[in-house]
């Protein structure tokens, strides 16, 4: 993969970042380790030197220069080739006593310690054994150097450093390797998902991404993408269906309209027939217009999802209003309209849309219920929802059609001869969706039970009037 493309990949960046973090952490850890080991050792040497200086200083105070000389001499005799280093010089710089052959050239470090070389011959520092000591200025111009042979310490330090260095290198390598491995494995999964989506979108929309049961974030993403594909397919199917239905259902009224107009033209001598045909044509045009208006209305409801004008709706008042409006129509058609409405229920929504939805359901019931039967409007709580129902005792809707019937311009074959645009239930479904609810048809045994289920609102105060 070319560098530019690779450097943009999230997996690559994550790997680099991870390695950097691990390296940084490792450095910190190694630093602490070093400080605790080699560093501690050095500090110990220094304190040994200081302690020795204290002892010698004490001796000097009690017994003067002679005492100091004798103590140093004792020390040197005890361990002639030992780790301790002493050098006492007189004010002229002449060697008085000590096992260091020359005063160190190097200036002391800020801490007061000085590095110098040990060895039988004088020479550059690098060829001699390392030593470390401290200089004490005595009165009368005498100078005393107390130090330690540092070879072993240095060797130890180097070993620790080297060990830590290797450890660092291994850490960095392992970090990089594991980061790349992990990154790649995720990268591969993501790449697979991307490929699958490409294929689906450019070709077969009915395919779905393969899912695993593990349920990590990528699996969740996959599930969501599959959900989106389901919805897209649903919408596409619906659009196709509508286009088909429009072509089918609206062509007939348009054809009738055309025929009427043509007949009207042919009848131009007979004024009365002429007027009749034109009026009939006008009625057809009106019906068509009404259908289109209804279609547009539904589309607008679905597309806009405007909820700012929602209010708290008194369900009882709404249902009773619908019943009161439709009762005369029902009674004239020989059917009874009854209500069973619980009090205190409310939903959050659009009053006019809800009225329209209920009215459409009641309209359907009045059309299909047999003479002498009862149509019942029910409003009652159902868990956290409010269930609004129109129950009739008509022929009902066969179970296999109960979902399809909510599609646009769907008329069951049994109703093809009755007036209606096939959009009443579509509007009900659109209103239900807008209110985060659902619309369904169930068996009223006998008859149909049209249900609008909506999330319950906060409730309204019970009024005294029934």
């Amino acid at each position: 993969m070319p560098w530019r493309e690779m450097s943009r990949r999230s997996a690559f960046r994550v790997a680099v970042l991870y390695s950097a973090l691990v390296t940084g952490s490792a450095l910190v850890v190694m630093g602490i380790l070093y400080w605790q080991t080699a560093g501690a050792l050095l500090r110990e040497v220094d304190s040994t030197i200081d302690a020795e200086i204290d002892v010698l200083a004490d001796q000097y105070r009690r017994s003067g220069l002679a005492g100091l000389r004798s103590l140093v001499s004792q020390r040197l005799e005890r361990t002639p080739a030992g780790d301790n280093v002493y050098l006492l010089q007189d004010p002229q710089g002449l060697h008085v006593i000590g096992n260091l052959h020359a005063w160190p050239d190097e200036p002391p470090e800020p801490g007061g310690y000085v590095q110098f070389g040990l060895g039988s011959q004088p020479g550059p520092l690098s060829t001699l054994r390392p030593g470390r000591g401290r200089i004490v200025e005595l009165p009368d111009g005498y100078r005393l150097l107390v130090g330690r042979d540092m070879l072993e310490v240095r060797v130890f330090q180097e070993r620790v450093l080297s060990g830590l260095g290797w450890a660092m290198a291994m850490t960095v390598l392992l970090a990089l390797a594991s980061a790349m491995f992990v990154g790649r494995s995720i990268g591969v999964r993501v790449a697979r998902i991307n490929e699958a989506i490409d294929e689906i979108v450019s070709g077969d929309l009915s395919r779905r991404l393969p899912t695993r049961p593990e349920g990590d974030e990528l699996d969740e993403l996959t599930d969501h993408v599959n959900g989106m594909l389901d919805r897209i397919q649903e919408l596409l199917t619906s659009v196709r269906q509508v286009a088909d239905n429009i072509a089918h259902d609206l062509r007939t009224p348009l054809a009738r309209l055309k025929r009427r107009l043509e007949a009207g033209l042919a009848q131009s001598e007979d004024q009365e027939r002429h007027a009749e045909e034109l009026e009939a044509a006008l009625a057809e045009a009106d019906a068509l217009l009404a259908t289109f208006n209804a279609l547009l209305r539904i589309a607008r409801i679905e597309a806009e999802r405007r909820r700012e004008e929602f209010g708290e709706i008194d369900v009882r008042a709404l249902v009773l209003d619908v019943a009161e409006l439709y009762r005369p129509l029902a009674e004239d058609a020989g059917k009874r309209l009854e209500t069973t409405v619980a009090a205190g229920l409310s939903v959050h929504g659009d009053r006019d849309l809800l009225f329209q939805a209920l009215a459409n359901l009641v309209d359907n019931a009045v059309k299909h219920a047999p003479s002498g039967s009862e149509i019942r409007l029910v409003a009652e709580p159902e868990g956290a929802t409010v269930s609004l129902r129109v129950e009739d005792q008509g022929p009902g809707i066969p179970a296999c059609e109960r979902e399809r019937v909510f599609g646009r311009l769907v008329r069951l074959d049994t109703s093809r001869t009755t007036p209606g645009s096939g959009l009443g239930l579509s509007l009900v479904a659109a209103v239900a969706r807008l209110h985060d609810g659902e619309a369904a048809i169930e068996d009223n045994r006998p008859g149909a039970r049209a249900i609008l289920r909506l999330p319950a609102g906060a409730g309204v105060a019970l009024s005294a009037a029934t």
Partner: protein, 238 residues
């Protein structure tokens, strides 16, 4: 009753169709094809009612309305809203509109609503008794009588009769009745309103000589006003 109407609409076909229709109905019409011209006309001249389209060039319809109201002009305004726009009655009415119609509409609907708006202006503020011919409705006592015969009405029937009486001599469409009597704005699929009116007729017209509630084909209903009909007949000398 002839009104002076201002029609502000940028689609010339619609402008002509509406204006011609109104002129044929006997009203005087002034035309404007953009917002600025419309506002100018409305301020310069006095109109009984204004038809205002929402989408206008130069100055948006609702802004014309707001400017007009800010000037203290209370001329009734009927707002037209085109398809494909947010169907927002509430926004239109809040901006100062008095009524709202979505295109496409039936001309009879527009005419009925305009005449209702225009009438509102000249009617006296509070009436306690509404009359048409020998029909009398006492709003305070909630009683209705024709001649000397009391008529028993259900509450809804009373409201329905009241609306028809308030608009006597004018067409009231079914949508208008739904809004004014039932206070809902929706499209009935069936003639649900007709049944209510026919029941009202049964009580108010059937047993009497002159039917007062008239069906206007393709538009709605009208409460006849025998007094003004007689006056018109007298004036035209027929």
């Amino acid at each position: 009753m002839s009104m002076r109407v201002l029609v502000v609409e940028d689609d010339l076909d619609t402008l002509e169709w509406v204006s011609n229709g109104l002129e044929e109905a006997g009203h005087t019409v002034e035309r404007a094809a953009d917002g600025k011209e419309g506002l100018f006309q409305a301020i310069e001249h006095d109109f009984d009612v204004i038809v205002l389209d929402r989408m206008l060039p130069k100055l948006d319809g609702l802004n014309v309305l707001r400017s007009l109201r800010a000037e203290g002009d209370g001329t009734p305004v009927l707002i037209l809203s085109a398809l494909g726009e947010v169907d927002d009655r509430v926004q239109g009415l809040r901006a100062g509109g008095d009524d709202y119609l979505v295109k496409p509409f039936a001309f009879s609907e527009l005419l009925a609503r305009l005449e209702a708006l225009g009438r509102r202006r000249e009617a006296p503020a509070v009436e306690t008794v509404l009359r048409a011919g020998d029909l009398e409705m006492d709003l305070l006592g909630r009683t209705v009588a024709r001649g000397d015969q009391q008529i028993e009405l259900q509450p809804r029937e009373f409201q329905l009769l009241e609306v028809l009486l308030r608009h006597k001599g004018q067409v009231v469409t079914r949508t208008m009745l739904l809004e004014k009597v039932w206070d809902y704005h929706f499209d009935p699929q069936t003639n649900v309103i007709d049944v209510h009116v026919s029941r009202l007729r049964g009580k108010v017209d059937r047993d009497f000589d002159t039917p007062l509630i008239r069906t206007v084909r393709g538009a709605g209903y009208m409460m006849r006003d025998p007094a003004s009909e007689a006056a018109a007949q007298g004036a035209s000398g027929r």
